[in-house]
């Protein structure tokens, strides 16, 4: 084995505040070989991001490096003078962060900013040469039409494209080490998979070492040969990634592994019970008009929801999944009747909502409720808990005593301590706040609950508790749930039937087992193949992963809207926009060339 390119020994970082000292990075030692990809996993708050910054000495008060050495290419970074440090940072060591949209000056063209960076770390490079080099890298990370995009500002890029720009920014000075801190975290699953694949290709051609940091072991496992596991500032276990996943030695690593929800192995898909239709959505359309940038009065049509139909039955869990921009948030607003559809109808318990009078609509609102994602913003601050839970009853004209009685019952039912009744919500955890929201919905005795990413702000443990609560309430009251989520593992666990959305449409609607094991639409397969898993993925990257990004909902391609990214697209896809076709078993898919006969590639 050659000399390590980076050797960290006994590194310690403290947080000092108001005379109290807290150790954030505790005596960390590890080494990284040239060209190696080393993974680092740990939960939020484990200190991994602070560690990443300590490696490049980007630590400012109240944080302080208190001990250790960071030997990079034979010299200790922590004892370099500022000028020597400036020759290393951004030059020999590249850094990519979790916030690509915020990483460059929002006003200036990205090309200019990367040239600026390159020339400030390598002043001997001329302007023209620097520009050529940046353009060359734009091509290598597959940014389409690099010379045009060179002159665009960050706000004109999508998150995924901007992360590619930041990869160029890190690699353009030809560093021997790149620190990648949680770089896929803000991205959609198919885009994140592309980035991973891109990094995998680049490091083979460049021979650059990577420290790849993530909170998810499956993500790290896609790239890293060796992995460090970090808990409360300490490296608790390290070893080959495959070894670590198969035979964890430390209890903490085992806990991490046990929290990864299964997708295919040992899964009991919930099976549907047949009931009456509670919610019927019929060919719903919603289009926004947005003034075209830089025009006097020309408007763009943003087709957010384009002809969506489905039915939710009593006692059923219905899932809606899709990536950002697929129209699921708009659909949520339509379902909750916060906005009215431009076309089609939404009927609840057999009554078309657009035909109801204001009075009967208010009455009807009692029967369908929405739970939002953000547990902090969704509660009115400055109102005591009990009063908050009484609020829906007071709106609907119950008297105070009755409202108070029912609110107290609901608090107990959702597992909120009765002592909290007269407290303000400040200081409560995300999970407790969501319980308040559930109680607020519950007191009205609704028939349907719409859950808009309700659980995604919660940690795994809180999530599991709330899912149990949902199941219990369903058993007691016969609720139906609509889960709107980007989290495939969650819908896999909870939902009877699942709709997959792409660009404002449902492209596939199937029961849980079919969708995860024998999906018909290429997009569904792509979503599944992009999921980072430790178990064997039934849909290998090489075959199903997508290229490019979704087209803008302003100008959709003619014919099938998925064809621009579809690996199976043929000539007829340009002409025909496939409708949602009924398949066996009450399932639907909108594709001319379905994976019909093909069973999943279970090897």
């Amino acid at each position: 084995m050659s000399d390590p390119i980076l050797a960290v020994s006994n590194l310690g970082v403290d947080l000092q505040r108001e005379g109290r000292i807290k150790r954030i990075v505790d005596n960390v030692s590890f080494a990284l070989q040239p060209g190696e990809v080393l993974g680092l996993v740990g939960e939020a708050g484990s200190g991994k991001s602070v560690l990443a910054r300590a490696l490049v000495r980007a630590i400012a008060p109240p944080l302080e490096i208190v001990s250790g050495k960071v030997v990079f290419e034979g010299r200790d970074i922590l004892s370099l003078d500022p000028r020597a440090l400036a020759r290393v940072r951004g030059n020999r060591i590249g850094f990519i962060g979790a916030n690509p949209m915020g990483s460059l000056d929002p006003r200036l063209p990205i090309g200019q900013q990367i040239v600026e960076k390159l020339r400030s770390v390598q002043p001997e490079i001329g302007r023209a040469e620097a520009r050529d080099r940046v353009l060359d890298f734009f091509g290598r990370v597959r940014i389409p039409s690099p010379s045009a995009r060179f002159h665009e500002a960050p706000f004109q890029f999508s998150g995924g494209m901007m992360q590619r720009v930041m990869i160029v920014d890190a690699l353009v000075s030809d560093p021997s080490l790149v620190i990648a801190d949680n770089i896929t975290q803000p991205l959609d699953v198919t885009v994140a998979a592309q980035i991973i694949r891109l990094i995998d290709g680049l490091r083979q051609s460049l021979n650059t070492a990577f420290l790849f940091i993530s909170s998810s072991l499956p993500v790290v496992a896609q790239l890293a040969e060796r992995t460090l596991v970090m808990q409360r500032g300490q490296i608790v276990e390290q070893g080959l990634t495959s070894e670590l996943a198969a035979n964890p030695r430390q209890p903490y690593t085992r806990t991490l592994l046990s929290r990864i929800p299964p997708i295919w192995k040992d899964v009991m898909a919930p099976t549907a019970t047949d009931g009456e239709a509670v919610l019927k959505v019929d060919n719903v359309v919603r289009t926004y008009f947005v003034r075209r940038r830089g025009s006097f009065n020309a408007y763009n049509q943003v087709q957010a929801v384009r002809g969506v139909s489905f039915t939710v039955k009593a006692g059923e869990n219905f899932g809606i999944v899709g990536e950002s921009g697929c129209g699921k948030s708009t659909l949520t607003r339509l379902l909750a009747w916060l906005e009215q559809p431009d076309g089609g109808r939404i009927a609840f318990l057999g009554k078309d909502l657009s035909h109801l009078s204001a009075h009967s609509l208010t009455e009807m609102r009692k029967s369908f409720q929405l739970l939002l994602q953000d547990p902090y913003g969704s509660l009115p601050a400055g109102m005591p808990l009990l009063r908050m839970i009484e609020e829906p009853l007071l709106i609907h004209g119950f008297d105070r005593a009755e409202a108070a009685r029912r609110a107290q019952e609901a608090m107990i039912e959702v597992g909120l301590d009765a002592e909290l009744a007269h407290r303000l919500p400040v200081g409560l955890s995300a999970g407790q706040r969501q319980r308040i929201n559930i109680a607020r919905a519950l007191v009205l005795r609704p028939r349907l609950l719409i859950l808009d990413e309700t659980l995604s702000a919660l940690d795994q443990v809180e999530q599991a508790e709330l899912l149990d609560l949902f199941n219990r309430l369903q058993a007691t009251y016969g609720f139906s749930y609509v889960f709107i989520s980007h989290d495939l593992a969650l819908v896999r666990r909870m939902c009877h039937r699942i709709a997959v959305m792409y660009l404002g449409r449902i492209v596939e609607l199937a029961d849980n087992t079919t969708l995860f094991e024998q999906p018909h639409h290429p997009y569904t397969r792509a979503l599944l193949s992009a999921m980072p898993t430790l178990e064997h993925n039934h849909f290998p990257h090489t075959r199903y992963l997508l290229d490019g990004e979704p087209p803008s909902p302003i100008d959709l391609p003619l014919g099938c809207s998925f064809r621009s990214r579809c690996p199976r697209a043929e000539n007829d896809c340009q002409k025909t926009d496939p409708p949602l076709l009924a398949l066996a078993g009450g399932n639907y898919a909108a594709c001319l060339h379905r994976h019909e006969k093909e069973t999943a590639d279970v090897e």
Partner: protein, 326 residues
Amino acid sequence: MFVLSFLLRRLLQGSLIILLVIFIIFTLLRVVPGDPARLIVGGMAPDAVVAMKAKELGLDRPIPIQFLSYLSDLATGDLGTSFVRPKSGASLGGSAFDDSTREDRAKVLDLILGTLPMTLQLAALSLAIALSVAVPLGTLGGLHPGRWPDKLALGLGSICVSTPNFWLGIVLTLFLSVKLKLLPAIGYRGFSYTILPAIVLAVEIIPFILRTLTVSVAQVMREEFIQIAPIRGLTRSRTVLLHALGNAAIPLVNLLGVQLGMLLGGVLVVEFIFDYPGLGLLTINAVLQRDFPLIQGIAIFISVMFVAINILVDLIAMTIDPRLEY
């Protein structure tokens, strides 16, 4: 194309606003007590003369008709004629009702355009003084929140904003002009007469720039792209000068547009104290003499300037930051 459509939209919006302003001012001046015709001819004049004057000025017609004829005059660039001011020099007052004819009185537009350069000179100098004091201090304050430059900026800002401008004018005149004889103060006989009023006006502007700049610089410095710049290999001086200041300038430019009205208020008082022959002095005298056409003309002229400067400010902000769109 981009700029054209923007200008078109803003000009339309602006003319709507100006129309509203004209309407408000016009109505306001018609409903307040005080008969302008009597004012012109003087308190001693017989009623018949007053009525004749009113007829001559068109004041006897119904107010909507007056408004429409005023509007059509405006459209040709005619802001009307002063009630009291002759074409040359000092105001006449209203004592002698038979000695001045309408033709001898000055055009409102000429009066405004005649005094405007003086006011612009004053405003430019005071803005230059204010910026040269407040920009460095405000930037330093924003770079070191909670430290001495920040505290100095806060303290200086609090004191400046608490200083009544007329009082400061008097005190500075007493010390710098009367006692130390450093600067001339009253009237105007050369550029040096602008300095003292400009200082007083600058003291009024400084706190606003300080406050905006310390807040916006401190805010930009917390942004990810500034925090991450040293890791990307950029030097601190480059980051601060090019990236932080560039972004912090946008709120400042917007502030200058919005606070223009305040600046004008200051101009009024300062010109009055120093007897500085600008637009402000003209305004105050017009009010004290109830010269309605002049008040009306000045108010409309100022709101046109206000609208125009705000469009300009938005254009500047757009060139600094391409994300903005109005």
